[in-house]
Symmetry: C2
Amino acid sequence: MNRQTDPQPNGASDFASTPVGDDVRTDHQSLRRRIREALGRDRAGMAVGLLRRMLAADQGILLQRVSRAERGRLVALIPRRELSDILDEAPTPAAATIVEELPPERAADLLDDVDSHTVADILQELPNERADAIVAELERPQDVVPLLQYPPDTAGGMMMTDYPRVRHDVTAGNALDVLRLFGEDAEGFGWVCVLNDRRRLVGAVSITQLALATPARSVREITEEHGHRLVSVSPVTDQEEVHRIMARYSFSIVPVVDDEQRVLGVIRAEEAMYVGEEEATEDMLRIASAPGERVFGPLHLSVRHRLPWLVLNLGTVLVAAAVISLFESTIAAIAMLAVFLPVVAGQGGIAGTQTVTLVVRGMAVGEVPAPTGLRLLGRELLLGLLHGMALAALAGALGWLWKGSPGLGIALAIAMVGNLLVAALTGAGVPLLLRRLGIDPAVSSAVFVTTFTDVLGFLIFLAAGAFFVTWLG
Amino acid sequence: MNRQTDPQPNGASDFASTPVGDDVRTDHQSLRRRIREALGRDRAGMAVGLLRRMLAADQGILLQRVSRAERGRLVALIPRRELSDILDEAPTPAAATIVEELPPERAADLLDDVDSHTVADILQELPNERADAIVAELERPQDVVPLLQYPPDTAGGMMMTDYPRVRHDVTAGNALDVLRLFGEDAEGFGWVCVLNDRRRLVGAVSITQLALATPARSVREITEEHGHRLVSVSPVTDQEEVHRIMARYSFSIVPVVDDEQRVLGVIRAEEAMYVGEEEATEDMLRIASAPGERVFGPLHLSVRHRLPWLVLNLGTVLVAAAVISLFESTIAAIAMLAVFLPVVAGQGGIAGTQTVTLVVRGMAVGEVPAPTGLRLLGRELLLGLLHGMALAALAGALGWLWKGSPGLGIALAIAMVGNLLVAALTGAGVPLLLRRLGIDPAVSSAVFVTTFTDVLGFLIFLAAGAFFVTWLG
C-alpha cells in the first residue's frame, strides 16, 4: 500500500481515482516530458512537484529512467519520508539504481523505513562492498541480514520478518496493544499470527476479530473459535510454489517456518502477485530459446541470451540436412520431392509446438502430476493420429493433384501421419523426460522437438517418396 | 481464507502446517484412494472423515473428480457450513458441478454464505433456468444479480459487493460497530473503504488504524492523517489490467467505481492472484496455435482447438512449397541445394520465435508502450543483423567445407543474414501491426512469422544458390 501523508501537490483528494491502461501511460508520458523540460530549464523544484503527482512505484521507475545527473538533482529534493516510500514500492532494479548512488549512511537512513524483505532484495542487487557498507549503517541490521542468505525468488527472500504476531496466552486487549507497537507496519495485514511460548505457530486470527472481541477474552479462545488452517512453507521453497499455494487457496498470508515450525516470517498476497506473471514469462522465453531476455535490455545481453541457442539450433538442423543429403541422388532424379520438404517440416513443427507448449505449461501450473504422464502421452499420440490422418487426406490429395503423381500423394500422406506421431511423442515425451531427470522442462523444448520432427519427418517422407514415386509415378 | 470451525478429524491443530509441492499431491493421492475405497465398501461416513482432512479448495476438486453417485453420497454427509466453505474456496467449475446437482433451495441456502462474486461466477457456469431458479431462492439476490451482468474476467465479475466500508463522518468507535455487522465477511480485509454521504470514495483506512485510534476520533481525521492513494477501476476493466495494477503497486485492494466515482465493489489481492498465471497461459497457447486448450480436456475440444491451425499452417507452408517449386529445375541440377533448405527454414524459424515471443510477452506485461514500437523494431533488426552475420560465417564455412562448393557457402551466408533480418522484421512487426489493428498480438503469431521466414528465406537462398553455385561451383 502506498503511503503519502503529505498533502497532494495537485490538490486532489488523498484517494486519487485514476483511469487505467493506456490513459495512465499517456498521462505519465506527458508528466515525464514536463519533468524533463523542467529539469532542462533548471527548475528542479517544479520537476519534483510534478514527480509527486505519480504513485510512488511510478516515481521510482521514472527516477531509474532519467540520467544519473537528473536523478541526483531530483532525489536531493524529495522529502526523506517520500523517498523511503519510493524505495519501498518501486521495482527492485529501480530502487537499487537510486540507492547505489547515495552515500551509505543516507541510503541506510532511508532503508530503515522500508520493509526488511525489500531491503534485502535491493541489497542483493548491489555490489557486495556497497551492500556491506549500507548494512553496517542500518538501525536494525538483524532484520535484514538473515534474509540475505535466501535468493530473492525463494520464500525466504519474499518474506517479511516484521509481521504482526501475538502470543496465544494474552488477552485481545493486550494483543491490540502489541499490534499498536507494530504501528504502520501492521497496516494492510488482515491477519495476525498466533504463536505459543516457543515461537511456534498455533494459528492465525484476523485483526478484525481481535478488534471486535471483548478485550478480556484470551487470544487462544478467539483463535480456537475462529481457527484457520493455512499451509506454511520453508524458507527455501521456490516462489512459484508459494504463488501456487496462494492462488489455489486464496490465502492472504503464507507463513514461512523453520524445521521446528518456528515462524521466520510471513509472505503477503500482494507481494506474491507478480510471481505468476514473472514465472510465466520465464517459461515462455525458455520454450522459445530466449531465456532471460528483456525487451529493452542491453544489446550485448540479448546477443548472449539468444545467439548460443541459434548456434545450437544450427547444429540440430544440420542433422536434418544430413538426412536429406542421404537422399541427394533421389532428389536429383525426383526434384519435386524437395518442394514438399517444408510441408513435412512445417506441419511437424507446429504440431510439436502445440503439444510441447501445452505440456510444459500444464506442468508449470500443476495440472500434470507425475503419475498422469503416461496418460498424457497416450492422449497426445491419439490426437496426433487423428490430426495426422486428417492432414494426410488433405496434403496427399494436394500433392497428387498439384504434381500429378499418386506416389507423391501417398508419400506425403504417410509422412503426415508419421510426423504428427513423432510430434506428439516428442512434444509430450521430451518435457516429461526432462522433468524426470530433474531438468526444467521448459528449457528450449521447442528446439529439441523440432529437431526430432525435422529429422524423422524427412526420413519418412524421402524414403516413402523414393519408393512410391518410383513405383507408382 | 479457509474456515474450518469444526474440530479437525485428524486431531491436528487448527493450523495445519503442511509440506508443499509433490508431497502435498502424493498425500492427496493416497487420501483420494482411501476415500474411494471407503465409498466402495459403503462406508460413506468414513469417506467424509477422510475428505475433511483436506483444505476446502482441495475437497471441492476431489468432489468434482469422483463420479456423480459418489459425489451425491459425500455431499449429503458434509455439514452445511463446511459445504458452503467448499463452494467458496473451490475452483469455479468444481463448485458449479456440485451446485448443479442440488435442489435449487438447498443450493441457494448454501450459497447464502458464499462471497457474492463467487456466487455470480458459479451461477454463470450453470444453464440459465437452473441459475434463475437458484437466484429466486437466495436470501439477498440483490447482492448477486448486479454481478451477473459482468463477465467473470472483468473487474465487475471479480469484485465483492459485501466489502467493509464506513462513512467518513462517523467516529472510529462507530466505525468498528459498523464493521462488527459485517462480521466474518470483514475478515481478511486489511483495509476499509471510506465513503462520503453520496457513496463516493474519499479514501481508505486500515482496520488496524481504526482499532488503534481513540474511539471518539472521526474517521475523516484518521483518513486524512493516514491517507492512501489507490487506483480504482471501472467494472468493465479487463482482469489483466486489474492484476497489472495490483502487481505494479502492491495494492491489497482495488475499488471498482462507476462513472460518478460511486463504489460498486472491491477486488482483493488474493482473488486476483490467479489472473497473471491464467492470462499468461492463454497468451502462451495462442502463440503456439493451441488457444483455449487444456491438458486433460475433452478430446473433441482439443481437435477443434488445434486442427484448424494445422490446416491453416498447411496453407501457409504450401506457399513456401510453391517458392521451391519455382526452382525445381535448379534443384534437379544442383540437388545439394535441397539439403540446406531445413537449415534456412530452421534458423529463420527459431530467430523469429525468439523475437515474436519476447515482443508479445513484453506487450502483455506492459513493457512495450505504443510509442516505443519503432525503437523495438530497430533494436530487433540490429540484433538480426548481428546474429545473421555470426551465423553466416558459421553456416557459410560449413556449407563450403561439407560440399566443397564456395558458391553454396556464399548462398548460405547470404540466406542467413537475409532470413534473420526477415525474422526480426516480422517477429517484431507482425505483433506491433496486429496491436495497431486492435487484434490480440498473441494470436498464432508464430505461424505468421514462420511463414514469412520460410517463404522469403527459401527465395533468397535458392536465388543466391542458383547464381553463385553456377558461377563459382
